[in-house]
Amino acid sequence: MEGISDKEEKDLDQKIYSVSGLNHFVKGLLEREKELQDVWVKGEISNFKHHKGRHMYFVLKDDSSEINSVMFRSKNRDLDFEPEEGMEVICRGDITLYVDRGRYQIVVKEMMVGGIGELYLAYEKLKEKLSEEGLFDDEHKKAIPFLPKKVGIVTSGEGAALEDMLRTLKERFENIDIVVSPAKVQGEDAAKDIAESIKKLDEMDVDVVIIGRGGGSIEDLWSFNEEILARAVFEAETPIVSAVGHETDFLISDFVADERAATPTSAAELVVPIKSELKSKVRDQKRRARTAMRNIITNYREKLKNLSTSPVLQNPKRMLEDRYQKLDENTERIDILLERYLERYKEDLSNKKDRLNALSPVQTMKRGYSIVMDDQKKVISSVDEVEKEDLLSIHLIDGEILSEVEEVERCQKKNLKK
């Protein structure tokens, strides 16, 4: 019995909700549960009610279950299609509870047609995954060469995209080399096919690869959103330009490629410069180089001319004339000096001559003195130098007398010898 009274006591402690209070409580629980907000759900539309410009009410159901759904006016006016009974759709919304009816429901914020919706989800998921892995990071982006020698193209073997690209490439640079590796660009295995073509071209000597195709439905373009293709683009050593569909189509290949072009034609424009423009640039530079060089040479020639008109170079003779004049002046001076020197020398000489004359025996001899020499022309100054019968010559002022010694007589008094 005690057990029962315990239970009763417990029951009495319990809060008793009003119906609306309970519903509000549950509503609060649902709305606070993060897992139930912003959920994606796939199902078939049934019981669809929509008055133009009003909220949409419908039931999403599958084979065994259903959920009440509402899409308010503020959201449903952005839909690009009119939902209808039996349509397979994918909805994104918040789980809540409609208090009035005590029914839980989904408030739809976004709705897509089934197949497309699934694709979209896959796209978002893959985009996030690859982004996290860093496949879209700028540091992996390779520069598109300014002037490729050879351009690789991966696209459908037929079709406007290839024609557009070839035409544009040729228009811009008529002698560009192109390698086309055709691939299936839609349908099953297309992504694998494109990936293989990328690998093939990557092993060749092409400098840049354009992958692309013309516009189409999102399903048509889908292969460019597939992982195998994204990885092939990422792994390629050759820079890759992704050009799929139209301006508004953004595909995974666009994010992972080194460059995105809005259309195949603009990819061709991006990859190859206009040859005539480059040619004229080169020509301009050539002209500039020539003009600059001509100016430099003219400049130097001018300088040379200026130098050569300096008086010295203009009339080198004048410089010589000056020198000659100087030389002449000096010559004259040296002549005068020489003359003076000679005169002085002459004077000096005649003085010396006079003195010499005074000392010379000639004057003495003129007075009657003579000089005696032996037959060796040695002057005899003592009787001791001669002997009897020696031949002597007596030199007078005007000639000589040859004689023979008959007798030598020494005079004591007159011995002048010392």
Binding site: F146, L147, K200, K281
Partner: protein, 79 residues
């Protein structure tokens, strides 16, 4: 911009078209300033002419071939 030496480059292919054109422009700017010694000017002019020749060659070297790889056999069809 600091004065660049613009020493002669042996392998122009390593430079590539765009760089070659840029270099050519630098050389011309230098020549146009007209403050280069004659010997250096002649040297730069010669370099410039080589760059022009290289650029011209680069523009003309491709033969305008379009090759299409066939998917089944991996051989090339030349158009």
């Amino acid at each position: 911009m600091s004065e660049e030496e613009l020493e002669k480059i042996e392998d122009l292919d390593e430079l590539g078209f765009e760089q070659a054109l840029e270099r050519l422009e630098k050389i011309n700017k230098k020549l146009e300033r007209n403050k280069v010694p004659l010997e250096r000017a002649i040297d730069l002019y010669q370099q410039g002419m080589e760059l022009i020749e290289y650029c011209d060659e680069r523009l003309e070297e491709a033969e305008g071939k379009i090759k299409k790889m066939t998917n089944e056999k991996e051989e090339m069809i030349e158009n």
